[in-house]
């Protein structure tokens, strides 16, 4: 199983490609040109997938084993059997092949050349090489693969661009499309760090405010999204039809609050408060982790099909400004 994920909730877009054994995060600064760069992003992420496939194939042929994770930079050359295998004598790294796991081939297990050089690889260098010689345009995921996209909260335009694009990809290739909100991703990250009990998560919003949600960890198994508060009937999206999975604990704990707009400050009830990709007074910074995303993308329930696709939608925490003004005027005509 392979997957591609895109989070365009902020101008610094985040992407991730992965398969059963690897994952690779990407970031792009996409001020005003996200929509123009979408296919380039897909190409970059697919290059990672292609590289892993190539490595796996050549590794099997060359007696190499696979890395469980891709280091960003290759550590210094080490003797066979200690970490990544380096070239004998500290020379140039071999270009093709892959050393095994956290440690190199046991006992100096070597590739075809028998000197420990042939199976050494720096995944980042291979990725770079493949980017320099792209394998051609197109979209190569197929049966058994998955797509994922961040549903927010965040930049509504960015979210809609990413969602629209990925929905179309999923529609054509009949792939499951996982809609993952930042709150759930953040909550799952906290869980892996052993955080339990009530927490508040904040995501940056306009004018120095924050989108916030109160949760109790751990979330229910399989939960992929925090229930949201959609403006029922105002833009045609009815909360009753929301794809977002509620998270009743079933154990007497309070269910998650609906996301709302609030201040960028600590929760008044004293519960630990975390800011998604930002920190503030009383708010600890929390960066949702690629490894958590990787696990979710591989193991989360991922219904496919037309109906499921239509349910993947941006997380609109508040109505549009025009709707708010209209409501104010009509609720208080003299206002």
């Amino acid at each position: 199983m392979r997957y591609l994920f895109l989070d365009a909730s902020s101008p610094l877009a985040f992407g991730q490609a992965g398969d059963e054994s690897h994952h690779q995060p990407f970031t792009w600064s996409t001020q005003m040109n996200l929509a123009a760069r979408l296919t380039g992003m897909i190409d970059e992420m697919q290059a990672a997938l292609a590289t892993w496939e190539k490595i796996a194939t050549q590794g099997e042929g060359g007696g190499a084993r696979r890395l469980d994770a891709c280091p960003v930079a290759l550590p210094p050359a080490a003797p066979p059997g200690e970490g990544l295998v380096g070239p004998a004598g500290g020379g140039t790294l071999g270009e093709v092949g892959l050393a095994g796991g956290e440690a190199g081939p046991a006992g100096g297990e070597a590739g075809p050349a028998g000197d420990g050089t042939e199976n050494v690889v720096c995944p980042s260098s291979v990725l770079q090489r493949d980017r320099d010689t792209p394998s051609g345009p197109g979209f190569r995921l197929g049966a058994g693969d998955r797509l994922g996209v961040c549903t927010g909260p965040g930049s509504l335009t960015g979210l809609r661009v990413a969602l629209s694009f990925f929905r179309a990809l999923a529609l054509v290739r009949e792939l499951p499309l996982i809609g993952l909100d930042l709150f759930t991703w953040g909550a799952r990250t906290l869980e892996t760090r052993g955080v339990r009990g009530p927490v508040r998560l904040l995501a940056p919003a306009f004018l120095g405010q924050a989108f916030l949600v109160d949760l109790e960890l751990p979330l229910r198994t399989g939960c992929l999204a925090i229930p949201d508060r959609l403006e029922s009937g105002k833009t045609g999206t009815d909360a009753a039809d929301s794809p977002r999975v509620s998270d009743p604990s079933g154990s007497g704990r309070s269910p998650p609050s609906a996301p709302a707009l609030g201040p960028r400050s600590g929760a008044p009830d004293g519960r630990p408060t975390f800011g998604l990709r930002f920190a503030a007074e009383g708010v600890a910074r929390l960066d949702p982790e690629p490894a958590v995303l990787h696990d979710l993308m591989l193991r989360a329930p991922a219904p496919a099909g037309w109906e499921a696709l239509l349910r993947v939608a941006p997380l609109y925490v508040v109505p549009s400004q025009a709707e708010l003004k209209w409501a104010q005027t009509h609720d208080h005509p003299g206002h």
Binding site: N33, A35, S164, A168, L169, L171, G236, S320
Partner: protein, 337 residues
């Protein structure tokens, strides 16, 4: 070849399938008029949300109506400008995703150029050049000389309000409803177009338009007349002023360029008073007049698909790098990064 067209530049989500650029296989439009009525105009963020909700169901229905599947498509054409950026991005991103996944060409289409092309689609014929084109809608009043595919010289455009915008604003001021064009046409039926002598802005002064002065004149008239105002006569007089202004500019452009063909398109071209005026002008001056049927005057994806078919060879390198652009000029290369 089947071209899939997608249009989402304003408040209509539309998907159409056109064969060989001329034969309309299906065209569906999901209108947001009811959603925006309470605001008295289109709200871009609300429009973008509705486009996102509607676009895949409309695509599904259009394919079903045409009896086609995604595998039957030959290329994907989509409006990328000008228009409202948020709504444009929904359509364009969807279109790009379809093109990439289906491994089909993506063709960025200019909304106004597509409006003009609708006149030829209606006749199931190839676009013919040269012609003088007049695009009149809620966002545009533009007069161009077209000499070839994607070859335009802009003769004039509005300096302020577009005629559709003028009608919307006056209808809102008179509490007649939204959109203004159809309701003013309805209210003006049987009215006396000569009762209220409204100005013909910039008459005889080049090809530029300006409708804000006309709007002000109407508002002053309404205030001055008070209870004496005869609404049907006002609506008829207003439409006559718009008709005379547009027909006058078109007539002058045809005379100066020596071109004997005119294309008038856009939502305001659906107005019956304007259409009658154009036909009378064409009969008097002896030029060929092409005005799309009303269904193809307002925003629709059929015109986008047809335009995409006729301009596919002109897109240049890697159209998937195209960006949406609120003010893309006619004839210019598609906007990129």
């Amino acid at each position: 070849m089947i071209t899939l067209g997608i249009e989402s530049s304003c408040d209509d989500t539309s998907v159409a399938l056109v064969e060989d650029g001329r034969r309309l296989r299906a065209s569906l439009i999901s209108s947001q008029i009811e959603v925006h009525r309470r605001f008295g105009g289109v709200v871009p963020e609300v429009a973008a949300r509705k486009h996102y909700e509607a676009i895949l169901p409309v695509l599904h229905e259009a394919l079903a109506a045409a009896g086609l599947g995604l595998g039957d498509l030959g290329q994907i054409a989509c409006t990328v400008g000008p228009g409202l950026l948020g709504p444009l991005l929904v359509g364009m991103s969807t279109a790009k995703g379809l093109a990439l996944a289906l491994d089909l060409p993506f063709i960025p289409v200019h909304h106004l150029e597509a409006h003009l092309g609708a006149a030829f689609l209606a006749r199931e014929q190839e676009p013919a050049y040269p012609y003088v084109g007049l695009i009149v809608s809620g966002g545009h009043a533009t007069l161009v000389l077209a000499t070839g595919a994607r070859q335009f010289t802009t003769l004039g455009r509005t300096a302020d309000d577009a005629p559709g915008e003028l009608l919307d604003k006056i209808a809102r001021h008179l509490d007649l409803g939204y959109p203004g064009g159809p309701v003013i046409q309805k209210k003006g039926a049987g009215g006396d177009p000569a009762r209220y002598p409204l100005p013909r802005p910039l008459a005889g002064r080049g090809y530029g338009f300006s409708f804000s002065g006309l709007k002000t004149a109407v508002l002053h008239l309404v205030r001055a007349e008070g209870d004496r105002l005869v609404l049907p006569d006002l609506c008829a007089s207003l439409q006559a002023a718009v008709r005379d202004t547009l027909c006058g500019k078109l007539e002058a452009a045809l005379a100066e360029t020596g071109v004997a063909r005119a294309v008038v398109a856009g939502g305001v071209a659906a107005n019956a008073v304007l259409r009658a005026g154009l036909e009378a002008l064409a009969a008097r001056r002896g030029f060929e007049l092409l005005v799309p049927p009303i269904a193809l005057c307002t925003d629709n994806a059929a015109m986008v698909a047809a335009q995409g078919f006729h301009t596919a060879a002109l897109t240049g390198l890697d159209p998937l790098r195209a960006n949406a652009c609120a003010d893309w000029a006619m004839g210019d290369p598609f906007p990129v990064l």
